[in-house]
């Protein structure tokens, strides 16, 4: 082979070599594993923590509420739509052990008690005292606005999908809805 060609090949080899070495430092690990992007980006996104828990877990601990809900008109709504994200709540009570499952009997009597005793004094509704620490407590919205967010008469709401009420013309204009409609089974 002529000397020039050998030299040329050599120079090329060196440049290609340098190119690939430099490239291997700048191109991140896992680049191009699945396409023109970092394969690890997919894994990182997949590893993010959830905030809304698996609804099956709620049902395991709160059998009574879940049962009520499943038979009522609110069956299509899932717990966390009303109660907010429950992942932390779940973890907290799972660590406490299943034995701590809420005593449904005492809970429900308290609720019915309050609804009877505070029939007329709506502002001082006495709620079931939650024993859950603040950070892990789920919201139990009992205000009218919460229900009206879905049920207020609105021309855009399909009649078939949801029954709506005219706030100015539905029984008592001040009373909380849950006094007459238990949230988990609103028509009972």
């Amino acid at each position: 082979m002529p000397q020039q060609v050998t030299r040329l090949i050599l120079v090329f080899a060196i440049f290609i070599g340098i190119f690939y070495t430099v490239r291997s430092y700048f191109v991140p690990e896992s680049w191009g594993e699945f396409g023109h992007y970092r394969g690890n980006a997919i894994r990182e996104i997949a590893a993010l923590e959830t905030k809304y828990a698996d609804i099956k877990t709620c049902i395991e601990c709160h059998k009574e509420n879940a049962g009520l809900l499943a038979e009522g008109e609110h069956a299509s709504i899932k717990c966390q739509t009303c109660h907010g994200p429950g992942y932390k709540h779940n973890k907290y009570y799972e660590l406490q052990g299943k034995s701590n499952t809420p005593d449904s009997a005492s809970m429900s009597t308290e609720i019915t008690d309050t609804s009877v005793s505070t029939e007329n004094t709506d502002t001082s509704i006495q709620k079931h005292k939650s024993t859950t620490p603040e950070e892990f407590r789920l919201r139990t919205p009992d205000d009218r606005k919460f229900c009206l967010n879905c049920h207020e008469l609105n021309s855009g709401r399909p009649e078939k999908a949801i029954k709506q009420i005219d706030v100015t013309d539905h029984y008592n204009m001040k009373k909380k809805c849950i006094k007459c409609h238990p949230p988990h089974a609103p028509n009972s």
Binding site: A13, R23, R38, A41, Y52, K78, Q80, T81, S155, K160
Partner: protein, 274 residues
């Protein structure tokens, strides 16, 4: 690997120079070139992780090449409660400021005089108030919107650094470590589904709750919908919920003429919706 090759070469080289003092500079270059090429070939062909990671517990693959996810939205069932938008913000740590949304709801009012009023106060999170008197309304409805996860997404094509991509499941994702926040993709999205996050200063968008899918859970917006107006599923699964929904209803996508091949299928979508 490359480092061991280097040490080998160095020992060999020093040994040789001791034996033969007549080594020329040319010899040195020759050997160097061979070694550098060797290292290069090494670094190109041996990738650190050739094996596909697998979540063994539930046998969920990351990523899963057999799936092709999409959304279905039934306008006939949407009551405009805004729970999907709210849940999305919570689940994905989206800024609570009313300018940033991965998922939001629009309220369309087509008036008698054929003008259209579109509103989305805080993305619908606080609910909607009927702002037009009933006798002026011809038709009104809610349209939930989110990323269309286009199969031919313009946003993916304009990214200069390869930070946004279509996952094998058909989910358009953003690599936040690689995003430089240039905003080209925000401009290119015909559906207005991207924004620059005030928290990370990178672009942010719907991930179809990829992290939830990989734990066997539905996306947060689907979980939060009280009427089942949102359907999430695998378009390859012919028996699946989404394919069934699309068979039973006449579905449409937004802006089909752009040929971005969106995977957000609306039932009863009014022609006036943009």
């Amino acid at each position: 690997m490359p480092s061991s090759a280097c040490t080998q070469f160095l020992t060999w080289f020093t040994m040789n120079t001791e034996k033969d003092k007549n080594k020329t500079r040319r010899d040195f270059f020759k050997v160097s070139a061979t070694v550098v090429t060797g290292i290069a070939i090494n670094s190109v062909f041996v990738k650190p992780s050739m094996v596909q990671a697998e979540n063994e517990k539930e046998n969920i693959k990351i990523p899963d090449f057999d799936k092709w996810y999409g959304f279905g939205i039934d306008i006939d069932k949407c009551i405009g409660c805004g729970n999907c938008a709210k849940a999305c913000k919570i689940e994905n740590d989206v800024s609570q400021e009313p300018f940033y949304f991965r998922s939001w709801v629009e309220y369309y009012v087509i008036k008698d005089d054929e003008t259209i009023k579109i509103e989305s106060p805080n993305g619908g999170i606080d609910g909607f108030k009927q702002s037009v008197p009933p006798d002026e309304i011809e038709k009104s409805f809610f349209v939930p919107k989110t990323c269309n996860h286009c199969a031919k997404s313009p946003c993916e094509q304009v990214c200069p650094v390869g930070a946004t991509f279509l996952s094998p499941e058909g989910v358009v994702l953003v690599d936040k470590k690689y995003c430089i926040g240039c905003g080209y993709c925000v401009q290119s999205c015909p559906y207005g589904c991207r924004y620059i996050s005030p928290i990370t200063h990178t672009v942010d968008k719907c991930t179809m709750c990829y992290h939830r899918l990989k734990k066997g859970l539905p996306p947060a917006c689907v979980e939060a919908c009280p009427t089942g107006a949102r359907i999430h599923g695998d378009l390859h699964d012919k028996e699946g919920e989404l394919v069934k929904f699309m068979k039973e209803h006449n579905c449409r996508v937004l802006k089909p003429h752009l040929n971005t091949k969106p995977k957000l299928h609306y039932n009863s979508l009014n022609e006036k919706v943009i």
